[in-house]
Symmetry: C2
Subunit: 482 residues, 2 copies
Amino acid sequence: MSHVAACLVCLSVVLTGGTGLLTPRFPRPKGPVLRSEYSYDTKYFTQPVDHFSFATSDTFDQRYLINRKYFEGDGGPIFFYTGNEGDITWFGDNTGFMWDIAPKFKAMVVFAEHRYYGDSMPYGKDSYKDPRHLGYLTAEQALADFARLITHLKSSIPGAADSPVVAFGGSYGGMLAAWFRMKYPSSVIGSLAASAPVWQFEGLTPCGSQYSIITQDFQKGSPGCDTRIRKSWDLLNQIGQTAAGREKLSSMFSLCSPLNTTKDVTVTMTQWLLNTWFNLAMVDYPYPASFLEPLPAWPIKEVCSLITKSLDVLEGIAAGATLYYNYTGQATCLNIQESAVSSLGDLGWSFQFCSEMTMPSCSDGVHDMFFPEPWNLTAYMAQCKSAWKVTPRPYWILQQFGGKNITAASNIIFSNGLLDPWSAGGVTESLSDSLVAITIADGAHHLDLRSSNPADPQSVIEAREQEVEIIREWLQQYYSGL
Amino acid sequence: MSHVAACLVCLSVVLTGGTGLLTPRFPRPKGPVLRSEYSYDTKYFTQPVDHFSFATSDTFDQRYLINRKYFEGDGGPIFFYTGNEGDITWFGDNTGFMWDIAPKFKAMVVFAEHRYYGDSMPYGKDSYKDPRHLGYLTAEQALADFARLITHLKSSIPGAADSPVVAFGGSYGGMLAAWFRMKYPSSVIGSLAASAPVWQFEGLTPCGSQYSIITQDFQKGSPGCDTRIRKSWDLLNQIGQTAAGREKLSSMFSLCSPLNTTKDVTVTMTQWLLNTWFNLAMVDYPYPASFLEPLPAWPIKEVCSLITKSLDVLEGIAAGATLYYNYTGQATCLNIQESAVSSLGDLGWSFQFCSEMTMPSCSDGVHDMFFPEPWNLTAYMAQCKSAWKVTPRPYWILQQFGGKNITAASNIIFSNGLLDPWSAGGVTESLSDSLVAITIADGAHHLDLRSSNPADPQSVIEAREQEVEIIREWLQQYYSGL
């Protein structure tokens, strides 16, 4: 049984024990889109597949979404979302903060899709065929796409030639926003990197920190909640040993497919539950939301309430999981294979995780409520090579983007919700006057990028105010320097 | 007749009229190496051919030269030369400044060879075969090589783990040194970019500036020198029309091969002379040196003296050219095809010039002593495509490295000799407290990087003192921050 949390917006890349199979889950919106009034035109811009070499002259069309409703020309600002691992329309719909503040800044709003996701496929249906086609799916290439797209926008849109650009991104998109300012400071005057675990790499952050944070979230959710989850693993292992036990479990969790083997319990089901608690910690928002699944406000509290009020530990766990997966009551059963169902977004991130995004994670069952699972670089390398036929470069991101030595950069806001497991690998203390950390005590995964909500805790209200203030300063600096 | 000055250390890429053939010249040392006491070990480090993608997993061995004689460990500094378009031993031998100051800084000295030059061939003899093999010859890939090599050095050499690294480079190597600090500030605490024409790109610098500077150099060389050169082009065109005239010219210049056609004169010979004057302006050093050719001190003065004292204009030109090509008296004839003889260094730069290093140059015969030759981007694109089967990306370097918008960077010294034509595209005014321009009134092409010499003019002595002082400050800042 092993796990490696890696995929960013929601989730964990699961290295299921023994099989060497990488089965990442990727967020797929299930509920209604939050704000259908976000309107944009969909456009495409031709990019070289390889910006850094001339071995291929292939090109592809990158999709981007653009709204010029508030932009009045005359060098007004451009708010530019550095798209991450998924369909860009989903990020467009889930990044309400940009839409909320664009009118007051008279900003153009652009969401740029990340290559190899959504509709931005360099080789169409063959894009994921093999390393020769897929190998250009890297952060560096994506950043270069953004730089060229910005030049195109500024040179082709009337009144935008001198427009300052501010980058926004959440999660892996936040990493890209930060790295974009580091590498292309002539393209963007500053970046808001929300919940960007830029330090979740080899040697920078203790690999178990994410699971400690999740454990704290559940501790706070309800007294004894974490203890019950901690107990659940042994109980599952025990009950999974017998056919009768597995039948009981299948029924208790209303599983779509019965648990046939011990491994179905000790590997697949425990991994599924681990992912469930990980995801809950990411989306522990203060109001009902549908980021990964439709959920009530403060879902950990709700789930923990169910977990702790049950007399039986596993029945409590089942009730908690059911809330996460079936809050709307529309599901007739729970599917523990769900984390193994791959969308293209999952696949893409799995490849990135297996090539340059070596983001270790581990649990020990002591400092967290999970089970012992060390980070094993050797196994990771072997499994990635087997799965994707590429050799990961675990240290390259450190060299490319500086690791913890990034104070030569400027004008980056690193915001982190402290409920979010990914805050473990984030920058949570300011590094300089212009590398500003903002922590949101009651925030989960990039809560600040979401649209404002009456239920917002004071901490995210203040964070957004501070962000707006800093962006305003960047713009003032820019305009005063013209 | 057309010319495009482009190749950096010496010379011009010649687009010979009509043929579309790119025939760059590259500096090949002809005289003895200046300082044979520069000693180093030759080592190799394995690099990925492609740092930014996973489409290929090919690797190659990058050569580097290393001297640890003065390095005492304990985090002492590393002086790192970012190798440019040629055999690294030649840069090692011609960058005396690093050797001169290494002892006082107790610095390790490293010269890193640029991929696809010297002994650092990614695909051995096939490296230049076609774009599929040669396409990885880009500045971005070279910078990534440097970053990985530095990590390797620091992690493998005792006492170097915390060593600050200072980059040095001249000409294209200076561009790389500057860009290296911009893109990899965690790898180097600062860079000395000597005679680095980082602004000799589309739209940043008037394309004729280089030729104006050359003209000024010859004006100063001797009264009337530039006037005589200016007159020579028409005279050559006239005399080249007849067989008798060509015979006379062949004899006057002691050419190895007779001038057979008008084009031999109006294209090949005029281009050869243009290159000759361009090169002289680059190597107008205050003491005898053998950077491109063995030459006396202040060679332009010597050449101009011959040009102006002759009663006949063309005889004066012939005498001047002869001094440049045969100062040692060992040549029995002059070879105007010389600029078409390709070494691998020439070829590599020609490819770089034709892929991402679009560095326009032009002359008009009005603001310079040459003949009208506009910069023609369309023709450049077509000729490059024909010659190398790649489509140039004329604007990419601007987007990649920020064009004139580079003030987000820090700790770069841009030094320029004002006699040097390449200073036209250099940074000659400080951009901030830590982007410092140093101009050397009496300096030709990166004179400051050469070893100190009793004949050094005061301007280069002061420039080097200032450079040492700034490097000392960077080191103090670094050590005080540990």
